[in-house]
């Protein structure tokens, strides 16, 4: 009987032990969990990090510490009345908050509200899928206007002294009503003889407002511009262009919403790269109310992470008589309030 191992057996043992150790180490180092990342080259990564950052010198507004928590889901539209009360639409409801953020009234329209506007005597006009509903503040009067058809998707309402204009994203047209709800005309249908190319509306964002110059401003989102029409539907002029520079409108279809301040300046909202910006009454870029880092998250290169975030990122905006800007954050369902730095408008 031999005692102990021979040199050959010892060497074999060492080799076997080493092989097992290497095997175990390899298994331990093998990333099967995905935590090590996708190992793709840089050109396979969608990166808009540079565009997320806004030059701080261009940010002209400060956000107030207190926001209005709406308590609503699927918020969609905002409006502010002359008294500083804030109206927010979410789902089938419209909730009214006073200047201190306290709820003071509530309306239930029984169907998803896509847009709201405020008329004389506190009347609330709401676009409920395919038709307009008008209610009085005390709910004593409620009128439903006729349906605009199965394809209709109402996204904005603008009110003049004599007319109500309704943006229908589904039919890509602005409908002009009289105050009794009778259709008196259409604006923006493609018409080469009138040099009207038609509205390009890839997603249900199609905003309108009546300006003090008596012209209707209509966002043509797929064309990245705001167009000015007479009430009879003549295209007078347009402004805005596509691009990721801060003075341009980014992505496929922006701006999604806008508001006109009392001094005639325009407050615009963009989705994707969430930006709220100010353009003067002369349509020239003035500055930024809030950029993606403020609105979505600091240091977050991706503008949205989940499909739900991406699809609800079309913020709405309203401005009060004092120039305070109210941004409806449709992701968090809160109203964020911005004031010009130094208190000026």
């Amino acid at each position: 009987m031999k005692k102990g191992m021979t040199k050959f057996e010892l060497l074999t043992c060492i080799v076997v032990v080493l092989a097992i150790a290497v095997g175990v180490a390899s298994l331990l180092m093998l990333d099967v969990t995905g935590k090590g990342g996708n190992r793709l080259r840089g050109d396979f990564v969608y990166d808009i990090g540079d565009q997320v950052v806004v030059d701080p010198a261009l940010i002209l507004y400060d956000e107030l510490a207190e926001s209005i928590k709406t308590g609503l889901e699927a918020t969609r539209a905002i409006a502010v009345d002359n008294g500083g009360n804030v109206y927010v639409a979410g789902g089938a409801k419209v909730v009214v908050f006073d200047g201190a953020g306290q709820q003071i009234n509530k309306f239930d329209f029984g169907g998803d509200v896509g847009c709201i506007a405020l008329g004389r005597d506190g009347l609330v006009f709401a676009g409920v899928k395919d038709h307009v509903e008008v209610v009085s503040p005390d709910l004593s009067k409620r009128v439903s206007w006729g349906s605009l058809g199965d394809r209709a998707v109402l996204t904005s309402i603008a009110i003049d002294e004599d007319y109500v204009f309704v943006a229908d994203a589904g039919n890509r047209v602005v409908v002009r009503y009289d105050m009794q709800g009778e259709v008196v005309g259409y604006i923006g249908r493609r018409d080469e003889d009138r040099n009207i190319g038609g509205f390009v509306i890839p997603s249900p964002y199609f905003d309108i407002a009546v300006a003090d110059d008596g012209l209707l401003r209509v966002v043509n989102p797929g064309a990245h511009r705001i167009e000015a029409y007479t009430f009879d539907g003549d295209l007078e002029f347009s402004w805005g262009k596509a691009g990721s520079d801060i003075e341009d409108f980014c992505g496929c279809c922006n701006p999604v919403n806008f508001a006109i301040a009392s001094d005639g300046s325009f407050i615009t909202c963009e989705k994707g790269l969430d930006r709220v910006k100010v353009y003067g009454a002369d349509e020239k870029f003035v500055g930024v109310v809030a950029g993606p880092e403020q609105l979505i998250g600091k240091g977050n290169a991706a503008v949205c992470q989940t499909p739900a975030q991406c699809q609800s990122g079309g913020f709405d905006v309203a401005v009060d008589a004092a120039g305070k800007v109210y941004v409806l954050d449709t992701i968090k369902n809160v109203v964020r309030i911005f004031e010009a730095k130094g208190g000026g408008q």
Binding site: D31, G34, L40, I48, V200, P202, A242, G272, P307, Q311
Partner: protein, 186 residues
């Protein structure tokens, strides 16, 4: 008599043994078929509402070329000229030049429909399932581009390597009779 019983017993034993083996084989075979059928009832698929386009689908599949591909829901598409799933975030131009295209493998093709609309489709053999275009489309557009496991390629592994590496639990088993989670049908 005892010898006869012994012979009969041996014959019976052999006969019963053969029958037993046959029945056992049928049982085992049936069990295997049942297990295989049970596995065949479901297949792996990506829930587009949970997918965050992390890129792991492109690199964690056991196949050299991933079974995950980009698909397009035309009914959700805006047919945009400035398509953020097709063009780089800051493209030098708005045309089909390779320098403008977002997809590193050139797997998305576009066709002019009418001013200003374009139709987009995926050349699947070129797509590696990285999800870059899905990210661009979802961030700015309607999210009509999304990732799906293509069942003409998927091996339907018991433990899918991509499912293990998926950070958002978007991979799940769905009935084989309804193997895709199509966005346009939502």
């Amino acid at each position: 008599m005892a010898d006869k019983d012994k012979n009969v017993s041996r014959r019976n034993f052999l006969r019963e043994g053969v029958w037993g083996a046959l029945l056992g084989g049928v049982g085992i075979g049936g069990g295997v078929v049942a297990v295989k059928s049970a596995k065949g009832d479901t297949v792996w698929q990506i829930d587009p509402d949970k997918c965050t386009q992390c890129g792991n689908c492109a690199t964690y599949c056991v196949l050299e070329e991933s079974a995950v591909k980009c698909v397009h829901a035309h009914e959700l598409c805006g047919y945009c000229d400035l398509c953020t799933g097709y063009l780089e975030p800051e493209p030098p131009g708005l045309d089909t030049g390779a320098e403008n295209e977002l997809c590193p493998t050139g797997a998305i093709k576009r066709k002019f429909v009418e001013d200003p609309y374009y139709e987009y489709h995926i050349e699947e053999p070129l797509c590696i399932g990285c999800g870059k275009c899905v990210k661009g489309c979802g961030a700015f557009g309607n999210g009509s581009l999304y990732l799906q496991v293509r069942h003409d390629r998927c091996l339907n592994c018991n433990e899918c390597a991509i499912a293990v590496a998926c950070p958002s639990e978007a991979f799940k088993r769905v009935p084989a009779s309804d193997p895709y989670i199509l966005k346009g049908e939502h």
